[in-house]
Symmetry: C2
Subunit: 345 residues, 2 copies
């Protein structure tokens, strides 16, 4: 899922997200959308789809992660999370109940449960208490979700989130608790927050063995192309990450042959296409030398090209993974791709 | 002509400049391209068309205007203009001869003569001396242009530039001098630099009566939609201006019904299209409320939408003017458009 924090995938037109990148779903951030444009505007618009014109599915996170990473003076209580806006310092409270209401108003096709995403590293006792709070919050989310109706003319799903930091007993306990709620899909949170990749894979493996295989498993905030292939191998079905757009804005291009830092001197007179194997129009419409020039010159077109290329590459990667799984050749293909994806060109 | 200073029209893909905005020609700035990416890269690429992928005509200015508006420690002599780069402070010299060479290397379809663009207001004696220097430089440009060949496989034209500030006798003298050189097209420079619009129209009128009617007349750096219609009425055929893109990046939208400042509170809950009469895809793909949200949130998509809308509107305006001229209804149409174009919505 391309990340569309404030209702827009940064530097790419939705027309291109749909027709060129060929994304099936995008993510929006509840925290950002709640603060700006705000619920009044979103409700008057008829929800986020009507507001931004994206007519394919939208998933919204629950806002919990941003409250902890972006807001000022945040404070957690049993009731919820008190915080001040990073934009204007205004005071707000997120609770499991109002986060359901907010996502009803946004009109996300997939709503996420309100949780605490533990930092890493994290003390065992902190992780255990946090996990129990997240579980109590989940039941409040489920109850409030059941009591309320969609505001627009389509159904919404609610995905709960497994937490437990990098403690195997907590992860197991959380995955079992989450699975028992029989949601339409299940998410794995609290990973890709600084822990070693091997630890992330270990936790993902453990959790995927418990979460039902016939429902989508969503690994939140992951990751590099390698992380995504490893996640797929472990049974993950959905990912979101800012890397293709954020790293693209900084001049990093992911390709099937490796990683390009387009600001490097070496691309100065490389007039070959941005990515000869790429399947976005930007890959052949522009050369590496021209993109380097744009990037060095701080031109808008640089992040526009890099973001669209990276998103198209990520979508190609997961589409190809799906094809290889159906063909029964995923493992061999993955082993062949992994060393290439990480190398620096 | 959309302005593509550093070889890119800011915040719009060339695909969209061609297919959506439907521009026939874009402008590049010699000063910027000479400094970055530099002549070596441009020549290795095979010229600017190959470098940036724009395969319709390109006009480059002569660099004189930017030397005076952007560079540090500039100094004018008979030989040319000594200046320091605004990027790294390095020392450079533009002469009529090397500016021809530079534009040969860029591969512009239309090259501009090297001139001094006088500031406004300007003393009569300064304007007179400057004009005479510009004329001497023109003959050096013409001689060097005649002695040199295109570097790529297509012809290049050279347009001279009328100067003379806002002094009627100087403008008349300059226009007669320029016309006598029988170039393939002729430009009017030194206007739209702070003088009242009426003075700009008066000078344009005077000059257009002298420059040949059967060759394109190009009014440099102009202007607002009203300026453009008034210029056309006076006999101008070509314009370039940063307004559609620069003002677009600041949230100003030009439409056939007037001017919109999209940051205004009043658009907060206006879910109507950006421009119901517009003919760019962005005009109906996005709402005013969404564009306002993007603009307030400093999202990349805001300048992308506004720039593309404004360029498409400018191109619609000149295309329609051409149709009305052919129909013989231009004057009436212009009188009806002018009051609308300037009003604030």
């Amino acid at each position: 899922m391309p990340v569309g924090t404030a209702g827009t995938v940064k530097a790419v037109h939705f027309r291109d997200i749909r027709d060129d990148v060929q994304a099936q779903i995008v993510l929006g951030n509840t925290y950002h959308l709640y603060l700006r444009p705000g619920l009044k505007v979103l409700e008057e618009a008829g929800g986020l789809h009507k507001f931004n014109g994206w007519n394919r599915p939208i998933l919204t996170d629950s806002g919990g992660y941003q409250v902890f990473s972006l807001s000022a003076q945040r404070k957690l209580t049993e009731e919820g999370a008190h915080f001040r806006s990073h934009i204007d310092g205004s005071k707000h409270l997120f609770t499991p109940e109002n986060v359901m209401d907010i996502q009803r108003t946004i009109g996300a096709d997939i709503m996420m449960a309100f949780d605490e995403c533990t930092p890493w590293p994290c003390e065992y006792d902190y992780a255990k208490n946090s996990l129990e709070l997240t579980h109590r919050w989940l039941d409040r989310c489920i109850a409030h979700f059941a009591e309320t109706e969609p505001k627009y003319d389509y159904d919404q799903a609610l995905f709960p989130i497994v937490q437990g930091s990098t403690f195997t007993d907590l992860r197991k306990k959380s995955a079992e608790f989450i699975a028992s709620r029989e949601a339409e899909g299940n998410a794995i949170g609290g990973l890709s927050v600084g822990e070693p990749a091997e630890m992330m894979y270990e936790m993902t493996d453990l959790v995927c063995r418990i979460l039902p295989a016939d429902k989508p498993r969503y690994l939140m905030g992951v990751g590099t192309p390698v992380n995504i292939l490893e996640g797929i191998a472990l049974g993950v079905d959905m990912f979101d990450c800012v890397m293709p757009t954020r790293n693209g804005r900084n001049g990093m291009l992911f390709t099937s042959e490796g990683i390009i830092n387009i600001k490097n001197e070496k691309w100065k007179d490389d007039f070959s296409p941005v990515d000869p194997q790429g399947n976005s129009f930007v890959d052949t419409a522009y050369s590496r030398a021209f993109l380097r020039h744009l990037s060095i010159s701080n031109e808008y077109l640089a992040p526009m090209i890099a973001s669209q290329h990276n998103l198209a590459f990520y979508l190609w990667l997961v589409k190809t993974a799906r094809e290889k799984i159906l063909e029964g050749t995923f493992a061999a293909w993955k082993d062949q791709m992994i060393p290439k994806l990480d190398r620096r060109l």
